[in-house]
Symmetry: C2
Subunit: 335 residues, 2 copies
DNA sequence: AGATTTTTTGCAACCGGTTGCAAAATATCA
DNA sequence: TGATATTTTGCAACCGGTTGCAAAAAATCT
């Protein structure tokens, strides 16, 4: 079907090597030769077979993009940024949807079979060991949105989720809330665990504050809404730190559906600062996560690793910051 | 780096063909041989190089997944369904993000270089000619969510957008609205054009009804909200047919931010029936688009084409239906 | 112009597999 | 048990490219 290098060589009346060289930059070809070959290639509609060449060069320019976050709209942006960023560098994303799979073995094998040059694990829920499995099998890997650690075993680009939890707690305390709650994503998600840990570690210093917690079964609008509707049936806390903006928006919806008002009756603080959070009708107080920077940095790291596969693992942590909007009661008067 | 078939052959003391055969199903290998080879393979941690084998078999099991809809959350679900569906059939999605590119040539070339077995164009905005370019270059293609036609040039799996437009118009008319408007997605999107066409063709029979239109610059929450805020500054229509639920939700937000109520002051009908539309706080009347069926059918078609690349192009159209909720005024009393 | 250096080109082996064909090994039958 | 049919195995060529090496061609120098 497709035109091969050999056919071009015959048409141009030159050797196969000559054709190969005109399509490899940095190879030695005279102008005359190049023109002859390009002519023939154009006539025949030839374009080199990337896979065949990868056989000898050992590079496929394929990057596995592995994720299990297919419900949080923020990840559409993440995929957008990753695919564009990779493409801009001549790399091709091979997408792996883990669904609920948490064992890395099958995806590692699969990506190895396709000889990917590297893999990006884009997930805020998978443990560090997941990405580690790629490295162990010789696949350069960076874990984006993963748990950052002082002793990273693989490259991690992320925010400090523990600190985010603390930040949320500090904010609620400062606003004078005395009965607060954490509404996390799936309990097994590392980001949930870390945000939880930070939240409660900060509250430990405030024994007078009542604190509770529960978990939504996914990072999604619906899961947040369902969980909050459930909580509303008992007696809800004064303020909720939600593990993600999508949860928060579901939560806001549940609160309003129940006839209560935000922030008068219940306060909410989210995490991510997604676009919708800025809407006046939502106006969510949240913690900003610098997604674009995380993705860009992940790609840079990936690219660096292509040249230096055994690069010493590093954790890149980006700062988060509170974005004050309207879902928490105002600061009590300072006097 | 990776273990090759040759090394396994040596280790097992057999020919390379023997090893190859044990890893190809349907090949003739004795049990004894198979055990010997599998043993050696396991010891060495061998797994076959999919790309190398594709060279001779002519099949890569790679499917290009081409899209430019990276802002509409519904597409996260689309990607989820596609990636899972393809994976379940042993196919691998190679993702291509078109961004704003509308010329198929670069993506076609790229996918040909990677010898994909086929391509799925998942886009409600690209014209049929886009997918056609893949076919012309010998890449089996199905266009999902594309414009359906009575004389399809490529496989299309979709809904009838023109009919959706008509359906929306009929519904608004039946509710007694006399001043209606179409708020579409990008004007260049085929889905926008078709919904527009259907909407106004139906209204042509009702000369007494005032109708206007405008376009948001993307299928996204924000774009819908921005456009509606703009419209609210002049004097808005009584009811809006929005080209998509994400637009509708943005529109609802804009209306409420402006202090008006839905459906008392302004009616809204959307298209897609995304999860959020069901929320009580949104409760959007909309037209249901059977996304799951479209994706499943697209994959089936793709799989069928792998065996029969020159399959005669077909258009598969799935029915849409109105989902009545609370963003249109009730039906006027029948007497 | 002839000798020498530099650049360009083709040969042939290789990347990691698959496969048609014929020989070798087993199985089946009388 | 020997003859015949069937299955299993290895050889060698091939898939579509790349690349080290040496020969050929072109450029530079005296």
């Amino acid at each position: 079907m497709a035109v091969t290098l050999k056919e071009v060589a015959i048409r141009a009346g030159v050797s196969r090597s000559a054709v190969s060289r005109t399509f490899t930059d940095g190879a030695s070809v005279s102008d005359k030769m190049r023109r002859k070959v390009e002519r023939a290639a154009r006539d025949l509609g030839y374009s080199p077979n990337a896979l065949a060449s990868s056989l000898t060069t050992g590079r496929t320019k394929l990057i596995g993009l592995v994720s299990n976050n297919f419900h949080n709209p923020i990840f559409l942006q993440v995929f957008d940024l990753f695919t564009r960023g990779l493409q801009d560098r001549g790399l091709r994303p091979l997408l792996v949807n883990l669904s609920d799979e948490t064992d890395p073995q099958t995806s590692v094998r699969m990506l190895r079979q396709y000889s990917v040059d590297g893999a990006v694990v884009a997930s805020s829920t998978l443990p560090p060991g997941f990405a580690k499995a790629f490295r162990d099998e010789g696949v350069p890997v960076v874990h984006s949105f993963g748990r950052s650690s002082g002793a990273p075993e693989v490259h991690v680009v992320s925010i400090d989720n523990v600190e985010c939890g603390r930040m949320a707690a500090r904010t609620l305390v400062a606003r004078g809330y005395r009965n607060v709650a954490f509404l996390g994503g799936p309990e097994s998600a590392t980001s949930t665990q870390d945000r939880y840990a930070g939240f409660f570690s900060e509250l430990a210093a405030h024994r007078d504050i009542k604190a509770s917690y529960s978990f939504a079964d996914a990072y999604s609008f619906d899961a947040g809404r369902r969980e909050m509707l459930r909580l509303m049936r008992a007696n809800p806390a004064e303020a909720y730190f939600c593990g993600d903006d999508v949860l928060s928006i579901g939560v806001l919806s549940a609160i309003r559906e129940s006839g209560l008002r935000v922030p008068d009756d219940i306060g909410v603080i989210g995490l991510n600062d997604m676009e919708m959070s800025r809407w006046e009708s939502i106006n969510l107080t949240t913690i900003h996560q610098p997604i674009r920077q995380i993705v860009t940095s992940s790609i840079e790291l990936m690219v660096a690793m292509l040249d230096e596969p055994d690069r010493y693992p590093e954790a890149r942590v980006f700062p988060s910051s509170i974005v004050e909007r309207g879902t928490l009661r105002p600061l009590p008067p300072q006097n």
